[in-house]
Amino acid sequence: MRRSVSIAGLAAALVLGIGLWGTGQKGSVTSAQEKMSTMEVKIDNFNFGPVTLTVPVGTTVTWTNRDDIPHTVVSTDDPKTFKSKVLDTDEKFSFTFSKAGTYPYFCSIHPKMTGKVIVQ
């Protein structure tokens, strides 16, 4: 009697647990997807941070200029995949990467500033 109760209890706990885990899992997948759909690059001190960013296809990358000097975000390919206008302090530029590939870019005003987005 006790054994069956405890087994039932265990089974119930298991089902409950799996149910909760399932919910939890679904919840974390959603937030992970949300997190991955927008990625940030900070521009500061004549640097792109992070220098190399790896993202899944479909991600929107947003560059924010935190420097006290204007910068641009320009891909090095030709024709250019993306090219921002001049970003003064606190201005942003976003681009959604719909195709996989490697996208090197630089600041056209200060060409020594370079970065890369790898889209997988």
Partner: protein
């Protein structure tokens, strides 16, 4: 103490009347305020604080002009919230020079964001300067958004390509170069084939005794490549000038004065009238350097250049706004 510092021509190794060692010593003094003049083959230097004691004839050449640079009109961050005010102070300094300069060179970054009102403001402020003629070359901040179209419309009359040109004043040949277009990722300043070919042609028929002044925004020598302070193809440009006895290269971009003498070429960079930048490698990046407000004007400045006709070198004097 009333004696003036004075050096005579001591070493004339190349037999061309230029005491390069003495000139170098003199150039080292310009940072702390020395006025050097070549007269009759003799290099004389005078402490800037004693300049009022020197006779005008000793000080003057047949041609004098002023270089200003990096006014960055539109910049308003803590490093200098009033770049219009400091540009006005530079104009006052120019108007206060005992030998009124004939014209001005602006070596670029006139504006901060290539906005029309920024260019307009600089024009208005410079109208208050005694020298009415101003010759410009663009900085990278002047050619944003439109590949330099606005710069050409405003300042490019008579120029070729992206705005390069040359002119003569009292026997001195001036060459304005553009090295801020088509910058490549990871690269330095660049002149490009078309401009180099034009320059080769431009100087081909000049006599070797013609003094040359080249002005461009980014330094034409490798000041600090890590921060982009150099021009990739400047060696080619300088090769075209090898035959000349006196070449002076005036640049901006790095917001501090620096000079270097290499053979017949004197390189000089000007201070900004807007904000200083750190010395090479002395900071994380080349960005605007904040100094205590009361020190700001002492790190901004103008450059006064004097030329004595038939002599070899130009006298280049930096003075701060403080």
């Amino acid at each position: 103490m009333s004696e003036k510092k004075k050096d005579q021509l001591l070493h004339d190794h190349n037999h061309d009347g230029i005491d390069r060692r003495g000139f170098l010593k003199c150039m080292a003094w310009t940072g702390t305020g020395a006025f050097c003049v070549m007269k009759g083959g003799v290099l004389n230097s005078y402490s800037l604080s004693r300049i009022s004691e020197i006779s005008t004839s000793d000080m003057m050449g047949e041609l004098s002009f002023v270089q200003i640079s990096d006014s960055h009109m539109g910049f308003n961050k803590p490093a200098n919230p009033d770049v219009a005010g400091t540009l006005k102070a530079a104009v006052e300094k120019i108007n206060g020079l005992s030998a009124a300069p004939e014209f001005m060179l602006h070596t670029g970054d006139i504006s901060h964001l290539s906005k029309p009102e920024e260019f307009d403001t600089v024009g208005q402020i410079l109208k208050g300067a005694k020298p009415k003629d101003v010759f410009y070359v663009p900085g990278e901040h002047d050619v944003l958004n439109d590949d330099g179209k606005q710069f050409l419309e405003r300042y490019g009359k008579g120029s070729k390509g992206a705005g390069w040109y040359s002119f003569d004043k009292k026997g001195v040949h001036f060459i304005g170069l553009v090295n801020v277009m088509n910058l490549k990722a990871g690269g330095l300043g660049t002149l490009g084939h078309e401009q180099l070919e034009w320059m080769e042609d431009d100087v081909k028929l000049l006599k070797h005794s013609t003094p040359i002044v080249v002005f461009a925004h980014i330094p034409l020598w490798s000041v600090y490549p890590e921060w982009g302070w150099g021009t990739e193809d400047s060696a080619q440009a300088l090769a075209y000038l090898k035959k000349f006895g006196s070449v002076t290269v005036l640049n901006g971009h790095i917001h501090q004065t620096m000079q270097k003498v290499e053979g017949n070429v004197t390189f000089h960079t000007a201070a900004s009238t807007a904000f200083p930048q750190p010395q090479p490698g002395k900071a994380d990046s080349a960005g605007p350097m904040k100094v205590p407000a009361e020190q700001l004007r002492s790190v901004l400045g103008i450059t006064d250049v004097n030329y004595v006709q038939s002599q070899h070198a130009l006298a280049v004097v930096d003075s701060s706004l403080a």
